[in-house]
């Protein structure tokens, strides 16, 4: 997962290059300086005719073509990033055509979907490109009319000269504009927010019409002439290695073209796992032939990697209290010892899978030493690196087409399926291969959100103030480094808000692959932080919003460790106060066994406070309504998509808490396999969700993730309000205890 960060605009060494489109018109490219290692690997070619891959181009008929550079995984960037370009260009959105970029770091810079960074990182560069194109069109018109650009205005793709009453379309001056020198990106004038005509307007997704007609092409829908279909059988247990395989029966199965045993590089975490590829005329036939394989696996590495063993080890670690102190503020031990009241609790949460609707898949053709790939990846550029590392295929020999992805949620940050299909394609040169995982493959071979255990203690002083807070976190890792996405956020509240605090960590090894799941770390830590602080609030006779407001104190920026972004207590206060108001927090539900819970979190630069109203009957939880207040800066780029992201995050969190999601292992073998034993949210459990934006004066930031974390503790706190029962373990299981 790329780190959370903000960026003001293009790298300042970026220059624009204008050229004439083949049939006339303007093509504007950005020449982006590459990181050194990429530049060495492939020298970009910027000479020759105008490329089709220009960021923005304007044809003589006025059609504006904007490249969507990032992977589209349902987060809406294929629409929202081009909206930024189009608005500054001051064209009519109806004139705009969007094309998906291939992967090309020299032309588009970083292309990935992760960490809710797309809006943050592209807000300035996309607008700068659009504004530069507009400035050039304006200059071209001014030159033609022999007037100054200051006398001209633009609107909806036309340039007007008020003094003479003349006007001209962008397309008509585009060829002349192509002969001009592009302006400096850093000084090109940008619109004031009040002048936006496209940004901020609810806009239907650019692929939506194709989606409702079944015409949108997802990774799994890739079709290349002569293509065959593949499955990849891997060891039943994580960490398993291939010893030997008898492929004869599978080779004779109907439709089977080739069976290829592949010995990987022994690096399951981003490398190539051992397996047996079956290539057939139809995917179903390839999948049927798996049962005919006679395989001997070495599963010894997975022995003892069972959920029950992990739990016992975690309990032993908590009992011993031994760990590494990652953050110590003040003297928490002494403060706890001297506090008037101490409360302690243990929290835990399970491994869970991503389970995007579109199972992992990838298509590739290996021909004459070159690899062509069609991939629904969140990190295609890392995929190219992985191909080199695992298979020795040089980046300059790879062409990578990005496809729409049927959900990501962090799963497609990893490129294991890309490496697998490349290995298979290389074994069957010249034949395009589409690898598709079954749902069972997808769930069992996930990079799971790792489980974790927390032993918490809070000290309350004689004035009823929270005076000390400690957490002993038990996680997974090799003893030095935590496993992927298994680390603690040292800024987890109340860190930075009280003087005496200690975050301690212990880890145990795992053979299971772990990874980032939507709002990584936060999706679990928010549950821990906000549920336990709700306990503290109850212990001091207040409620969580009051306690949080007291802890947040005056409006200020609190610095965070580990290069994390500073935390703005004022923005936090505002969203809490907003949701207290919109949810009618003061009015408690009159019905029995019904209550409201609140939680707040700051993640991925977004500030979110949420309230859940829920009731409990016969051990079953019903969520009646969810209120959300969020601050992601001054501007919601596409309210249509933005609201969908928030609703989706809320439902995602409710599913994690309420549907029974938990991945369990016995000797490294995942016990769940499909959507019956790893359930997802369904329509009947979906509550009404009311969203309020709190617009601060900060630059806009991303929405894929930050709305998720608070809904889980808001729900568990609501269950407490309804029943008096604390939920300290996910998923929520009311009947069993």
């Amino acid at each position: 997962m790329p780190p959370e960060r903000t960026r003001a605009g293009f790298d300042r060494r970026t220059v624009l290059k204008a050229s004439l489109l083949a049939g006339g018109g303007l093509a504007l490219e950005a020449l982006i300086p590459l990181p050194v290692q990429v530049a060495n690997a492939s020298e970009p070619q910027h000479s020759g005719p105008a490329p089709l891959s220009a960021f923005v181009s304007i044809a003589p008929d006025g059609t504006v073509t904007i490249v969507a550079k990032n992977p589209e995984i349902g987060q809406g960037v294929k629409t929202s990033l081009p909206m930024m370009v189009a608005d500054e260009l001051d064209c009519d959105w109806a004139q705009v055509r969007i094309v998906q970029a291939d992967v090309d770091q020299a032309r588009y810079g970083e292309q990935y979907a992760g960490g809710s960074t797309a809006t943050t990182e592209n807000w300035m560069p996309m607008r700068q490109v659009g504004a530069a194109a507009r400035a050039m069109l304006l200059q071209a018109a001014a030159d033609g009319w022999h007037v100054g650009t200051g006398e001209l205005t633009t609107s909806r793709g036309r340039i007007r000269h008020a003094a003479s009453g003349r006007s001209i379309g962008y397309g008509e001056v585009a060829s002349r504009a192509a002969t001009l020198t592009p302006p400096d990106l850093s000084t090109v004038p940008l619109k004031q927010p009040a002048q936006f005509t496209i940004i901020g307007r609810p806009t239907v997704g650019v692929d939506s019409a194709k989606i409702v007609g079944g015409e949108a092409v997802f990774g799994v829908d890739t079709r290349v002439p002569g293509m065959l279909h593949a499955v990849y059988e891997v060891a039943p247990a994580h960490g398993g290695r291939l010893v030997k395989v008898d492929i004869e029966a599978a080779q004779r199965a109907p439709g089977v073209h080739r069976v290829v045993p592949i010995f990987g590089n022994g690096d399951p975490d981003g490398g190539l796992a051992d397996g047996i590829a079956i290539v057939a005329t139809h995917w179903w036939l390839a999948n049927q032939a798996r049962s005919k394989l006679v395989v001997e696996w070495d599963l010894s590495a997975a022995k003892g990697h069972s959920s029950s063993v992990y739990r016992e080890k975690a309990e032993a670690a908590i009992a011993s209290g031994v760990g590494t102190d990652l953050r110590v503020d003040g003297d928490p031990a002494a403060r706890l010892a001297s506090s008037a009241k101490r409360i302690a609790a243990r929290y835990d949460y399970p491994f869970i899978a991503h389970a995007p609707m579109e199972p992992q898949n990838c298509t590739a053709r290996y021909r004459d030493g070159r690899l062509e790939v069609w991939a629904p990846s969140q990190t295609p550029q890392r995929g190219i690196e992985a191909l080199q590392k695992a298979l020795g295929i040089a980046p300059e020999n790879v062409t990578l087409h990005l496809t729409r992805a049927g959900g990501g949620f962090g799963r497609r940050l990893m490129n294991d399926y890309m490496v697998q299909v490349a290995a298979i394609a290389r074994a069957v040169p010249g034949v395009p291969i589409k690898l598709l995982w079954s749902r069972e493959d997808d769930i069992r071979r996930d990079y799971f959100r790792p489980g974790g255990w927390h032993n918490l203690e809070a000290g309350i002083d004689a004035n009823g103030e929270l005076s000390a807070f400690t957490d002993h976190f038990i996680t997974f890792g090799d003893g030095k480094t935590t496993a992927r996405a298994a680390g603690l956020n040292l800024a987890m509240p109340p860190a930075g808000l009280i003087p005496h605090l200690r975050y301690r960590q212990s880890m145990m090894p795992t053979v299971v692959t772990t990874g980032a799941l939507r709002a990584p770390a936060s999706n679990a830590l928010c549950f821990v932080s906000q549920s336990f602080l709700d306990e503290v609030a109850a212990a001091v006779g207040t409620d969580l919003p009051q306690l949080m407001l007291r802890l947040l104190g005056a409006r200020r920026e609190v610095a965070a460790p580990d290069h994390r972004p500073a935390f703005d207590t004022g923005r936090a206060r505002d969203v809490i106060e907003k949701v207290v108001q919109t949810s009618g927090w003061a009015h408690k539900p009159a019905q029995p066994a019904r209550g409201k819970g609140l939680a707040f979190y700051f993640s991925h630069l977004g500030y979110f406070a949420e309230v859940v109203e829920a009731s409990v009957a016969d051990g079953a939880v019903t969520v009646h309504k969810v209120w959300v207040a969020g601050d992601v800066g001054s501007q919601i780029v596409n309210p249509m998509g933005a609201e969908n992201q928030v609703r989706g995050a809320v439902i995602d969190g409710l599913a994690q808490a309420l549907t029974g999601q938990a991945i369990e292992f016995v000797d490294g073998v995942v016990q769940q396999g499909n959507l019956d034993d790893f359930p997802l949210a369904r329509m009947p459990m979906t509550p009404e969700i009311e969203i309020a934006w709190v617009k601060s004066d900060k630059p806009p930031t991303g929405l894929g993730e930050p709305a998720l974390p608070p809904v889980i503790p808001a729900l568990t706190n609501a269950i407490y309000a309804a029943t008096g029962r604390r939920i300290r373990s996910l998923p929520v299981r009311l009947k069993s205890a």
């Binding site: 995984i73 349902g74 987060q75 809406g76 239907v204 997704g205 692929d207 939506s208 019409a209 989606i211 409702v212 007609g213 079944g214 015409e215 092409v217 997802f218 799994v220 079709r223 005329t281 139809h282 995917w283 389970a355 995007p356 609707m357 579109e358 199972p359 729409r404 049927g406 959900g407 990501g408 949620f409 598709l436 749902r439 919109t582 309210p639 249509m640 998509g641 609201e643 969908n644 992201q645 928030v646 609703r647 989706g648 809320v650 439902i651 995602d652 499909n674 959507l675 997802l680 949210a681 369904r682 329509m683 009947p684 979906t686 009404e688 969700i689 009311e690 969203i691 309020a692 934006w693």
Partner: protein, 159 residues
């Protein structure tokens, strides 16, 4: 085995094993990739098609059992009055996020409205309960079905 199938008002001839689910005949044999694979066990509804007008999970229907039934897929549902209304409603409020499940959602919604022109909330929820949307577009799916059915919309606007 050779089969003659009536798909989207056109007779198609295929030669595949009788056990092959209709889903894979549509996708890998006929190139109708709008119908999606999600679970292979009839749990998610992504592969929903109409078989003689009824919503069926094509991953659970062996091609050998289709017989003379008329199959309709997402690629053709816009030719029906209800299908077209649903597609318009879907676009009016831009229901989708990733969009992968939406073909199945629309096919199920279409079968629902063909049976029950103005479904109650319970009827709507239960008819759609078999279709999973991992992105969680359920509020808007409900709203879109209500719009297509001429029912009042669920409130879906941010303040």
């Amino acid at each position: 085995m050779p089969y003659r199938l009536e798909i989207n008002d056109v007779m198609r001839e295929v030669d595949v094993p009788p056990e092959m689910p209709l889903l894979w005949v549509l996708r890998d044999e006929l190139g109708l990739t709008g119908t999606k694979y999600g679970c292979g066990k009839g749990l998610c509804g992504a592969c929903t098609v109409h078989v003689d007008g009824a919503a069926r999970r094509s991953c659970q229907l062996p091609v050998g059992r289709v017989g003379r039934a008329k199959i309709q897929t997402i690629e053709h549902v816009g030719h029906t009055e209800i299908g077209a209304r649903l597609q318009r409603a879907w676009l009016e409020i831009d229901v989708m996020q990733c969009g992968y499940c939406q073909a199945g959602q629309i096919m199920s919604a279409c079968a629902l409205l063909a049976q029950t022109a103005r479904p109650s909330d319970d009827q709507l929820n239960s008819a759609m309960a078999g279709n999973i949307c991992r992105c969680g577009c359920y509020n808007r799916i409900r709203s879109a079905i209500r719009i297509a059915a001429g029912l009042p919309q669920e409130s879906d606007r941010a303040a």
